[in-house]
């Protein structure tokens, strides 16, 4: 902290000065305990619910009639379904990244937003996990893909990237959930002790597992939390690499590229950052958390967006370069078709949204104009969706065999399923905001503690 202050005296502080533990707790728990819920919360929650209804409807139809309700065909047998899957998994990456990696590298500014980001991860991965099941159209047979002992000695085909996906996404979901919950235990205890409502006390009490902040507990807790972070970091990289392998392992022109795993990871982080911004900026305003989510948080996230967008840009470039360098006519044609073919609009759209738009973050003025940042973050989300769509549907529609070339034409149910999955996410997020501490109380309190020490020392230095 001190070092930081000396190196960058200009930097705004992570927390505004003169915080007090009690006031801080009041503020955070106030978000939850305030009755009645603010109007805008109801607005968002109902929006989420209505989208959730759309999801229910389209899923009902899907399971009743089959994936034929979507625009899928041969050759384009994957389109919106897998695009949404990859998109959601990508969004789910920022949470673990912010929590784990920034924790390991001691970026204490993370404390104010990591809870939010982790929650985002959990719900995003939930959405992601649904699509592989949805895209079968027959959920009752989805369990065939799991390794369960059976008399016919039938096991999954472990060489298939789809099985890797199952393991990766399940592991990722479990670990994220555990990480989220463990990080929340002390705060749940705080809520238990803070809330007056009897039922709330009971529920938070049970959820807090009887946490009482003993020093011995804190010691093991810190270790466990650090270990989880250390495990989650390679995990987060592996998950989207494996998702990238879904495509890299195949022989399809436009998929068969070794650059995919790293460039998918970069894309995932970019989309995740964008989604954190999309959520954090309105919440900050709505709940007046300016003292915790400060301008510096926004800055740092913008920096990360710039970095990852440059990585993604490099990914696009190397894709094109190796298509040419491979000497394979099929790959070259595929690249040319992306740039000039029927999906050119989507390709140039994603270049604009994912590579060019984030570059505006270089300007401090843009970073300070939060509405603008928010819009750009939305634009990046769209761009990342387009990227996956171009890779999946675009490549499939122009495979090896010309006689079967066909463009993908989405139906209304393609869109319904996509919007519906957003319903799951939004509903989940708003329930989380309402029921669980939005900011990691104990870590922020710790931050206050350090800050007090620092201010003390600075005071001495002054004298």
């Amino acid at each position: 902290m001190k070092k930081l202050r000396q190196e960058h005296p200009a930097l705004p502080p992570v927390l505004e000065p003169n915080q007090d533990y009690g006031r801080l707790v009041d503020q955070v728990s106030g978000v939850i305990l305030r009755q009645p819920a603010p109007r805008f919360w109801w607005g968002g929650f109902l929006l989420g619910l209505s989208l959730l209804m759309i999801f229910m409807l389209s899923t009902l139809l899907l399971f009743g009639r089959g994936v034929g309700i979507w625009g899928l065909q041969v050759p384009v047998a994957w389109a919106f379904d897998i695009t949404n899957f990859v998109w959601w998994v990508g969004i789910g990456h920022a949470g673990t990244l912010i929590s784990a990696i920034l924790l390991l590298v001691k970026q204490d500014w993370r404390n104010s937003i990591n809870r939010l980001a982790e929650a985002m991860t959990v719900f995003a991965v939930t959405c992601a996990g649904l699509f592989p099941i949805l895209h079968l159209g027959r959920p009752q047979v989805a369990y065939f893909i799991l390794p369960y002992p059976n008399t016919m000695e039938l096991w999954p085909q472990f060489r298939s990237p789809l099985v890797w996906d199952v393991f990766a996404v399940t592991t990722y979901f479990t670990v994220s959930l555990v990480f989220w919950y463990v990080g929340m235990i002390p705060d749940l205890a705080t809520m238990r002790d803070r809330s007056r409502n009897r039922l709330a006390r009971r529920l938070y009490g049970v959820a807090a597992l009887g946490w009482r902040g003993a020093a011995r507990h804190w010691q093991r807790y810190r270790t466990a939390y650090l270990v989880l972070a250390a495990l989650a970091t390679p995990l987060v990289v592996s998950v989207h690499s494996i998702v990238g392998l879904d495509f890299a392992v195949s022989v399809v022109p436009g998929w068969h590229a070794t650059i995919f795993p790293p460039y998918f990871v970069a894309g995932a982080i970019l989309s995740g950052m964008a989604m954190v911004l999309t959520l954090a900026i309105p919440l900050r305003a709505a709940y007046g958390l300016h003292n915790m989510i400060t301008a510096r948080h926004i800055d740092f996230m913008c920096y990360l967006a710039i970095a990852t967008s440059l990585l993604v840009g490099y990914g696009y470039f190397s894709e094109a370069f190796f298509a040419w360098y491979s000497g394979s006519g099929y790959e070259r044609f595929m690249m040319a078709d992306r740039i000039m073919g029927d999906y050119a609009w989507a390709y140039w759209g994603l270049i604009l949204f994912n590579v060019l738009a984030p570059q505006t973050f270089w300007l401090a003025g843009v970073r300070r104009a939060l509405p603008l940042v928010w819009v750009i973050s939305l634009v990046i989300n769209v761009g990342m969706w387009l990227e996956r769509f171009v890779i999946i549907a675009g490549s499939l529609s122009r495979g090896y065999t010309p006689s079967i070339w066909l463009n993908f034409r989405p139906t209304i149910w393609d869109f319904a399923t996509m919007l519906g999955s957003m319903g799951i996410f939004i509903t989940g997020m708003f329930l989380f905001i309402r029921l669980l501490p939005l900011v990691t109380i104990h870590e922020v309190s710790e931050l206050v503690h350090h800050q007090k020490q620092l201010e003390g020392r600075l005071g001495e230095v002054a004298r």
Binding site: W155, R159, A215, R216, W218, Q219, V227
Partner: protein, 198 residues
């Protein structure tokens, strides 16, 4: 009144401080007095307290490492068993033991085992979940998760002796000082058959 309190079977003494620094000082002091059954409670982790309490470093990380490697091994074995040993099939004419394709799952299973061990190991060693604890009955203790910093000395400490221990704690200038009783059931029990005076 206090006399009466003294005579009910008590869990220990609980002192509350306003600032972490006071707590740290207090811990150092009581440890110096030779108390062993000492514990500090704080709304966030205060690193300085742990050496003051003389806590040994936790061994959790070794358990995690062991579980991680065990999981990875299990994951690889599962794939080898299924594709090479039990039901070999010609799939795309790939070698049966195509180990590169087995690595992703090996890795994921390893991580899963390690992570679960870390979380549940921590809870187990902390004796959690335990939703019922004498301290929860103590007044003001709810502040331990908000802005209170507590120090407890349990009654089963060999050095624990009334009123010396209390005077010691009072001398540290706590915001409050409480005699924590055993669970209420015990109190009820005590009223039926009160202990004989010493």
């Amino acid at each position: 009144m206090e006399q009466g309190l003294d005579n009910v079977r008590s869990w220990g003494l609980l002192a509350e401080f306003a600032e972490p620094e006071q707590l740290i000082a207090a811990v150092r002091r009581v440890r110096a007095e030779g108390y062993t059954q000492v514990e500090a409670y704080s709304p966030f982790s205060i690193v300085e307290v742990e050496p003051a309490l003389g806590l040994p470093p936790t061994r959790l990380r070794y358990a995690v490492a062991a579980a991680g490697f065990a999981g990875a091994g299990l994951g690889y074995f599962m794939q080898w068993f299924a594709l090479v040993y039990q039901y070999p099939l010609n799939i795309g004419d790939k070698p049966l033991h195509s180990w590169p394709a087995f690595l992703p799952i090996t890795f994921e299973v390893g991580i899963l085992f390690a992570a679960l061990t870390a979380a549940f190991g921590m809870l187990a060693r902390n004796g959690l979940p335990r939703v019922h604890h004498p301290l929860f009955a103590a007044p003001h203790f709810e502040r331990a998760t908000i802005d209170g910093f507590f120090l407890s000395i349990e009654a089963n400490d060999p050095r624990y002796k009334m009123p010396d221990t209390r005077t010691l704690l009072e001398s540290l200038g706590p915001r409050s000082l409480t005699l924590v009783r055993e669970e209420f059931e015990d109190v009820a029990h005590a009223t039926v058959a009160p202990e004989p005076r010493p």
